[in-house]
Amino acid sequence: MKEKISKKALREAGSSYLLLSPTLFVLLLFIIGPILFAVYLAFHKVELLGITSFEFVGFSNFEKILEDTRAKIALWNTVKYVIIVVPCQTLLALVLAATLNAGLKGEKFFRIVYFLPTLTSSAVLTLIFMWMYNQNGLINNVLKLFGFPTYNWLGDPDVALNAIMIMNIWSTAPFFMVIYLAALQDIPDSLYEAAELDGANTLQKFWYVTVPYLKPVTSFVVIMGLIGTFQLFDQSYIFSKGSGGPNNSTLTVVLLIYQYAFKNLGTMGYAAALAFALAIIILVATLLQRKFSKEESLY
């Protein structure tokens, strides 16, 4: 009996690894390989350009992070960003998807229109936002119209990060909306029928049937959201022309990593150390998320 089971297990393991082989190949060669190299860098003081040199420095690159005020500011900015953006974009994506899956008239049209922000290239988006956010731009004009105070959206550090947040939520929510749309197709009608028999209304069905069923996908959306926002780079790079200003208000961890990896020669090791510190923070955040959502099936 025991032998039989292990034979079956062996066969299953065999087919598993066969199905996984392309993944393992790419993962080892192009992903894990470079990461191990980065691990090596994190423990060295390196000069890769010209006369290359590697000097083992132990944990000193990691210790440096603790004294680096800019790293702390960058982390704080990033955390603020994550806390606001992730819930907003997840919720928006879920609501959009549920609405656009309800069999409304013109659903197809809305689905396409809502996806447009994700399709528009970031260079164009930036220009559009520069145009909307400027002192005499669309947003301030609308605010004026309703008697609200106007802002110097791009220049003022207090609002610059908010401006980026709004832009980010608006342009990434459709991405997750599509994933939810796909997931919604798999919910068996029988579940809704059962709920209807129990006298559930639309909102109750959404809350007690749809949301729980989407749990694994929500878990994906939240984790990807965490990773994406913790690694925010493009927008703050474009808005601050790479400096992270004004007064470090748009400095993010990855922008800092980029500055150390490419702008300053010879600080590649420190950049790698920062990258691993960030990865650990993201990991912790992911585990916390998992704890809160109490999803049993993640592993």
Binding site: L36, R70, Q135, G155, G244, P246
Partner: protein
């Protein structure tokens, strides 16, 4: 189970990396023996960033002329299309030993790159008829290493000049300012609320360096930041005051413009301080704009402006150095430079070419050319990138009135120097 897998993973990758690092050295040596024989066709790679379509055509024309003269050399142009990331790409390719034979290098990046030893010193290649004394000296000096050797020859440059809107000046009844004090007064008269500002300001060190040092302070001392010096603060304070007190100056993004030239063209600034690049832009984009140029106003009677220059440099690992030199010497020689700068997209760094093309008498370009003799070249040691980054980050906050200038600069200086020390 899993520890074993980990071990295997690490094992495979480290073996792979070992071979990788070993392979790097081997391959270069091989190449050197194999290629570059006499009589055979040699292909030289040339990397630069993209310009506008007209500029690209000019470069192609110069290269075609070169190839016609040197039938056994083919020039392969590699355009690295994102200028902001140009150096990242070049550095990555150099690290991989796949760098181009000849490439553009901004003076700002030159000291740090020269120090790494990836560039070929060019002194040995220079012959008498290359006429090295013909170059504007400060521009050539920007590409000299600590060892006194020349690592690149400047292909073109631009200084800064004052651009002013003639119509607005007429309406306000003001004269073109000769000094910064005059400029400040004029700017007040030209400003119309938040619609039109007197002066468009780019609050970046690259554009303010000459002003920062105008009162005798130094921005960089011994390769470290020293811009918190009260004399530097005093020199920069008027710029901040113009924005906060007079409300007669603004940065382009406050009015929704991408840069000073655009702000000026849109009529949202009556004056901007920009370089030669703005002239063809305004011609193409705002053909009806009536504007003039003047030398940058003086501070305490002293003339000052900035100069930005880019050189052609040679990769030390190149295995076609002879051909690469032929290319550099043609592009920065009298003939090649004349073709390249003929349409006024860039100013020639050779005095003879400048005289021949007559830019010193050109109505719009004369003030730019005049600036060359007293300009500060945008370059200052190997740590300038760190210093600039911290300066820009904090200066903006003072410019926006978040905090006093002295405090902002002090903090920026401290952060910059901490970063430099821990490098």
């Amino acid at each position: 189970m899993s520890p074993k897998k980990w071990l295997a993973t690490i094992g495979v990758t480290s073996v792979f990396f070992g071979s990788l690092l070993a392979g790097c050295g081997g391959e270069n040596a091989e190449k050197k023996d194999g290629e570059g024989k006499q009589g055979e066709k040699v292909e030289v790679t040339l990397a630069g960033w993209g310009g506008n379509p007209t500029e690209q055509k000019l470069l192609q024309q110069t290269l075609d002329d070169f190839e016609a003269k040197h039938p056994n050399i083919d020039v392969k142009l590699e355009v690295i299309s994102e200028q902001a990331q140009y150096m990242d790409v070049i550095k990555t390719r150099l690290i991989g030993g796949e760098g181009p034979d000849v490439f553009y290098l901004d003076a700002f990046e030159a000291p740090a790159l020269i120090e790494t030893g990836v560039l070929e010193p060019l002194d040995e290649y220079v012959t008498d008829d290359f006429d090295i004394d013909d170059f504007e000296k400060p521009l050539l000096d920007a590409f000299k290493g600590k060892d006194g050797k020349i690592y690149g020859f400047p292909k073109d440059y631009s200084t800064l000049a004052l651009l002013y809107n003639k119509k607005m000046f007429k309406e306000a009844g003001v004269e073109v300012p000769k000094t910064w004090d005059e400029l400040r007064e004029v700017a007040k008269k030209l400003t119309k609320g938040t619609e039109v500002y007197g002066l468009g300001v780019n609050p970046e060190l690259a554009r303010l360096y000459h002003i920062a040092e105008s009162k005798g302070g130094k921005v960089v001392t011994n390769n470290k930041a020293s811009f918190a010096d009260p004399k530097v603060v005093e020199a920069l304070q008027p710029i901040v005051d113009m924005h906060l007190k007079d409300k007669s100056a603004a940065q382009p993004n406050e009015v929704g413009a991408g840069w000073g030239g655009e702000m000026f063209g849109q009529g949202k600034a009556a004056m901007v301080i920009e370089g030669n690049w703005a002239i063809p832009f305004l011609q193409d984009t705002f053909p009806n704009l009536e504007y003039g140029t003047a030398e940058v106003p003086t501070i305490d009677g002293k003339k000052a402006t900035m100069a930005y220059t880019v050189a052609y440099v040679m990769n030390k690992d190149s295995n076609k150095k002879e051909a690469a030199w032929k290319l550099i010497s043609y592009l920065t020689g009298k003939e090649g430079m004349k073709t390249w700068t003929s349409k006024g997209y860039a100013l020639p760094t050779r005095k003879s070419v400048a005289a021949e093309l007559g830019y010193d008498k050109d109505e719009l370009r004369a003030p730019l050319v005049a600036g060359a003799s007293y300009a500060t070249v945008w370059q200052q040691g190997t740590n300038l990138p760190i210093i600039v980054n911290n300066f820009n980050n904090q200066f903006v906050s003072a410019f926006l009135g978040e905090r006093p200038l002295a405090k902002a600069l002090e903090e920026a200086q401290e952060t910059a120097n901490k970063e430099i020390e821990s490098k």
